[in-house]
Symmetry: C2
Subunit: 376 residues, 2 copies
């Protein structure tokens, strides 16, 4: 299902054929937490923004409106009117970051909803059932997300449980995919590598989960506060252990520079709330670096957000107008800024893909790695 | 500039030729308070929603980002990228409803900004200067908005001052339109009829301002809490005093039923925040009556907001999805609901126009006057 059509060093240019359409990799997935991108962006807008994969959050949709309701309505693709591939996370990250009063046992995690305090249990089977109800293209394995830095003893213990949980995820997904009423009975399962910043734990864990022959593999538990150098160091040692013929997904990353570095190290897939969250706060990604639109110098600036960008926002609106809208807390300001930033990220991936095909990725990396993350 | 092409009873079907384009009347103007429709709707979206005139609020734009800044950038049409006609209110209504610590004198009103408490003075000249800076197509006269019911003595006093202020508005607008740097030196001025719910005051005031030969006339000071019957009674007595060849604008109105009744009484132009405000709270205008999307019965409803509507929202999204988005406080929910409601209002006006042309307005009125305002 993944065909690598070009390589430059470890950087891979691939075509991923999913049950819901073809994806050109490396790809950035656009995060629609509660079945919509924050900032008033619809599934129809996403097409215009060159989005290839929409990502939905399992925890949020389980709590509201409920995955059973979404299943009744035909799954999240029918619900949102996004007809391309969808990746759902496992809910694990949110259980460990948003919910309160967690209790972790071998069976799974008991926690309280951040919305109404309702007591909820989620283990590997429940996560698979919810994701099956959502009918996504790619489901993520349920794992424990522990903070960096962590105690080695705890990390080792958690890694072992993550392997056991992954085996249960795989068995449950096979069962669900075989049921007659399943919305997407070709749903894929990606395993998630853990092990904090301990290289040997990461490598051992990756070797263990690679044996399960899943549809893809993610590197999780990074970009949670550790220095970028630690993240690159871990990717660097884990990547050689990842199956060549399976997509590799670095979860929750990141800045344009982070993405360039991770592509250089062999990663195919990314997701992050950064472009939309930054946009809502006036931080605009441009081909010259990051612009802070709140800066007074943009109040009378009639240029587009990025004069080098051809997105629907830059073709029509000025920095001065969008800055005013953000200052006045008008939703349109957030919408326009988010549209631009998502288009920027999706175009960044397009340029990365073209450069790998042309053999010019190293030059593209050198030109942009520092520049795109700089604040101007 | 106003050509009446058909009449049925007092209902008028007209074509209004403005310096910024032609408007088919009766028309509903779409309210973009701070240079954007609340709900993340851009000027480009408005075209798709059949909007003909955008309305901007002088008070809001004077305070933020400032009318001088907007003038530097070419006026509000250039700022927002709306290339059709724009009407700006005078700021008076907001000065009397939003600002604090008002002091009214013959010269004008001193008040404190609701944003930062800054002391601001606005009189007829200032209001004209601000609206000239905004470069709108139609400027509204600066008047005092007093509450209903009011003491007759005060209303009489206020009416007299409103006439004096109107004369000053007219003189100042003529001066501004003659200046070389003026953004729109063909800017129109509409006078505003006042007099609370006192019929004789209303009539006398209307006669006085009609003599000033302005570009159009509005009925102000209604829809501020009085019963709808009082409003209809006042329109009924004022309308015969309004010049036949000038557009008639009922400010701040209203429900679909209110609009139908006022068209029947000879009104050409309307504006109201109701469709966008209602939408943001899940109250959806439909051809069968008003739907409250918050109602649990819509949670699994796969129908569009209105099965009889062909707007971009109804062509794509379900009640269940939009209800979920509103419950989850996702901006997209507000955006989709606002888009639908504005399209509904603009389409209502289109149907009203067609029915006057066809001589079937009475039937259209009878079929819809009660039904469209009913909660279903």
């Amino acid at each position: 299902m993944l065909k690598i059509i070009a390589k430059q060093g470890r950087a891979r240019r691939g075509i991923l054929t999913t049950p819901h359409g073809t994806v050109q990799t490396p790809v950035f997935m656009n995060v629609a937490t509660s079945a919509a991108i924050k900032g008033g962006i619809s599934a129809l807008d996403l097409k215009e923004l060159k989005c290839q994969i929409m990502l939905n959050n399992t925890y949020h949709l389980h709590i509201r409106p409920g995955d059973k309701l979404i299943a009744e309505l035909g799954g999240v693709r029918e619900f949102t009117r996004w007809d391309g591939p969808v990746l759902t996370d496992s809910g694990g990250f949110q259980v460990f970051s948003l919910a309160s009063l967690r209790k972790i046992k071998e069976e799974g995690v008991t926690f309280h909803s951040h919305l109404d305090g309702a007591k909820i249990f989620m283990g590997p089977e429940e996560s698979m059932q919810i994701q099956s109800n959502l009918g996504s293209t790619i489901a993520m394995a349920f794992d424990e997300c522990i903070a960096n830095p962590a105690e080695r003893k705890y990390a080792e213990h958690s890694c072992a449980r993550t392997v056991r949980w992954l085996e249960r995820c795989k068995a449950e997904m096979q069962r669900l995919n075989s049921l007659p009423g399943t919305i997407n009975n070709q749903q894929w399962l990606f395993g998630i590598n853990q092990g904090c910043t301990f290289e040997d734990l990461r490598i051992r864990h990756m070797k263990q989960i690679a044996k399960l022959d899943l549809d893809g593999y993610a590197i999780g538990g990074l970009a949670v506060g550790e220095p970028a150098e630690d993240m690159y160091r871990i990717i660097n040692v884990v990547e050689p252990e990842m199956p060549e013929d399976k997509p590799r997904y670095l979860m929750g990353v990141g800045t344009p520079g982070n993405i360039l570095e991770a592509v250089r190290l062999g990663v195919d897939m990314f997701d992050c709330v950064m472009p939309s969250r930054n946009a809502r706060h006036g931080r605009i990604a441009t081909w010259s670096g990051q612009v802070n639109l709140n800066n007074a110098k943009y109040a009378r600036d009639t240029q587009p957000l990025d004069p080098l960008c051809d997105c629907p926002v830059c073709r029509n609106f000025s920095r001065a107008y969008i800055r005013h809208l953000l200052k006045a807390h008008e939703m349109l300001g957030m919408r326009l800024a988010v549209m631009h930033n998502l288009y920027f990220y999706n175009t960044l991936m397009e340029k990365i893909r073209a450069s790998i095909e042309e053999g010019s990725f190293d030059r593209f990396y050198e030109e942009n790695f520092v520049k795109l993350d700089a604040r101007i």
